[in-house]
C-alpha cells in the first residue's frame, strides 16, 4: 500500500528531515510510526499525503508513484488517502454533517449517496446523534472522531494519522486507537504516527521507529496483520 524506496527529504538549509528511508506497508496492514519529536514522523506522513515532495527516492502509494505525479493530479491522488491530524482541523462554521460530507461534495457524489455515506461514517464513530451540532460544541475526543469520520467517508484504501491522540487523555486515546483497529479489520491500511509508546505497546502491530530522519527499526510484522 505504501512503499518508500531510499527516500530523503532535505530542506534548503542542509538539514535532512528524512534520509534514505525504505519500508513497505502491505495492503490491509496497520502500523505505528514513532520517534522523538523532530525525528521526521510528520515529514514522512506529509510525503504520503503529497503535502511535500521527496528530494530523493521513490514513493509508491496504492500503486501510484507520487514523485512524478503532476500538480494537477494531486487532488485526485489525495482522495485515496484518509488523513487525520492531531488537531482535527474541522470547519468551525459547518455542522458535523457538513464537515463529514466535505470529501464527498468535493468528489461530486449525488446528495442521496452523500447522506447515506455520511450517516454510515458517523454511525461508525458513534456520533450519529450529533450530526447537526457545530464542532465547538463537541469535546476533544468527539471532534477527533468527526475528523476520523471525514477521513473514512469516501472509503479510502489507506488511512494516515499524525498524532491523532496527542491532545486526548489515555482513556479517549485507547478508544480512538480501537476505532482505527476496527477500520483495519475491514481491510483498510492504517499508518499512525504517535509517541504514545505505552498505548501502542499494548497493541499488536508493527512499529516503525525514526531517529533523526533515519528509520532505525522497521519493526516486526504480526501474524494478525495479514
Amino acid at each position: 500500500m505504501i512503499r518508500f524506496e531510499a527516500v530523503s527529504k532535505s530542506y534548503g538549509n542542509g538539514y535532512d528531515a528524512l534520509s534514505n528511508v525504505s519500508f513497505h506497508l502491505a495492503k490491509g496492514e496497520m502500523a505505528f510510526l514513532t520517534g522523538h519529536s523532530g525525528a521526521g514522523k510528520s515529514t514522512l506522513l506529509n510525503l504520503v499525503a503529497l503535502i511535500e515532495r521527496p528530494s530523493k527516492g521513490k514513493i509508491i502509494v496504492d500503486g501510484q508513484s507520487l514523485g512524478k505525479a503532476p500538480s494537477r493530479r494531486i487532488p485526485y491522488l489525495r482522495r485515496h488517502v484518509g488523513i487525520i491530524f492531531q488537531n482535527p482541523r474541522l470547519l468551525n462554521d459547518c455542522t458535523v454533517y457538513d464537515n463529514v460530507a466535505l470529501p464527498l461534495v468535493i468528489a461530486g457524489y449525488r446528495p442521496q449517496e452523500i447522506g447515506r455515506r455520511v450517516r454510515a461514517a458517523l454511525d461508525k464513530v458513534g456520533l450519529l446523534r450529533k450530526e447537526k451540532e457545530f464542532p465547538f460544541h463537541l469535546s476533544g475526543g468527539e471532534q477527533q472522531r468527526v475528523g476520523i469520520a471525514r477521513a473514512v467517508v469516501n472509503k479510502p484504501p489507506l488511512l494516515v494519522a499524525d498524532e491523532p491522540t496527542g491532545n486526548l487523555d489515555p482513556g479517549l486515546s485507547a478508544e480512538i486507537m480501537s476505532l482505527f483497529e476496527q477500520f483495519n479489520q475491514v481491510g483498510v491500511s492504517v499508518l499512525i504516527a504517535t509517541h504514545d509508546l505505552a498505548l501502542i505497546g499494548r497493541m499488536h502491530h508493527r512499529i516503525l521507529t525514526l531517529h533523526k530522519g533515519r528509520l532505525v527499526s522497521a519493526g516486526v510484522r504480526f501474524a494478525d496483520d495479514e
Binding site: 496504492d62 494537477r72 494531486i74 487532488p75 489525495r78 470547519l91 461530486g108 449525488r110
Partner: protein, 337 residues
Amino acid sequence: MTSNTMAQNRSMPREPSTPGREQPQRNQQIYHHWFSLWASRHLQSCVLSIGRMSRKPFASIMTIAVIGVSLALPMLLFILLQNVQSIGDGWSNSTQISLYLKKSTSPEQVQAFVTQLKNNSDIADVTYVSPEQGLQQFEENAGFNDLLKALPDNPLPPVLVVKPTLGAQTPEAMESLLAKLQNGANVDLAQLDMQWVKRLYALLDLVSHFVWALGILLGIGVLLVVGNTIRLATENHKDEISVIKLVGATNSFVRRPFLYSGFFMGLFGGIFAWLVVSMILFWLSGPVNQLAQLYNSQFHLTGIEIGSILLLLAIGGLLGLLGSFIAVGRHLNVLEA
C-alpha cells in the same frame, strides 16, 4: 484502484459497463451526468459565496458601496455628457449662412434667387436684408453713426440669410451647402459662422475623453477593491482552504466560490451605482426643467437607457470576476508540493 479509474468514476459513478451497441446512449448519460455535476457544483459555489457575504453584511455592503460609487461617478458623467451633446445638437439648429450678394445685383435678380433658394430641399427659410435695412441695423447695433455718415454712399451689399433644414445641419452637410452657395452667380461671399459649433464639439470631445479616462481609472479602482477584498477573504479562509485541499479539492473547486463572491460584489455594486445615478438624475431633473423653461426650451434630462443599465451591470460583474481571479490565484498554492 488506480487513480485513473477513480477519476473516471467521478464523472460516471458506479454504472456497470455496457457493450458497444449502447455506447452512444451511455455517452449521453455520461454527458448528462457530467453536466448536472458541473451545474450543481456551480450552484453550490454560488450559494456558498452569497452565504459568506451575508454572514458579514456590514463588510459586504461597504465593499459594494465603494464599487457602486466608483461605477456611479463615470456613469453619471457619461449621462450628463450625452445630455449636453443633445443640447449642443439643438443649438446648432440656429446655424445660418449669410450670402453677401454682388452690389450690382438688381432687386429682380434677388427675388429670382430667393425663389430658387427656397426650392432647394436643404434650405428651410431665406430672409432678404436690403442694403438700406443692413445700414439701419448697422447704425443701431454698432454705433458707427458718424463714420457711416462720412461715407458718400451705402457701402453695404444686399444680404440673404439662409436657414438650412434640420437634416442639413451636420457639419459635413453644412460645408457642402456652403460650397454650393458660394458658386451662385450673384454671390460675392457665402459666410457660415460654424466656429463656435466646432468649438463646442471639440470641447465636448475633450470632456468625453476625460470621462473615459476617469471611467478607466475608477474601473481599475473597482478591480483593486474587489481584488483586495477577495485577498482578505482568502487570508481569512486559509485554514479552510488547506483543509478542503487536503481532502482532495482541486484548485478550481477552491477558487469557484471566491470568483462568485467577486462577481456578485461587482454586480451588486453595479446595481448600487444604477440606483445612485437614478436618484441623482431625479434630483437634478427639477432644477434642469426650471432652467429650460426660463430659456423657453423643451429640454428634458434624459435618464439611463436600459442598454446602459445592462452595460453597467456587465462591467461591474466582469470587473469583480477579474479582480477576484487575480487575487485568488496567488493564494491557491498552499499545500502544493
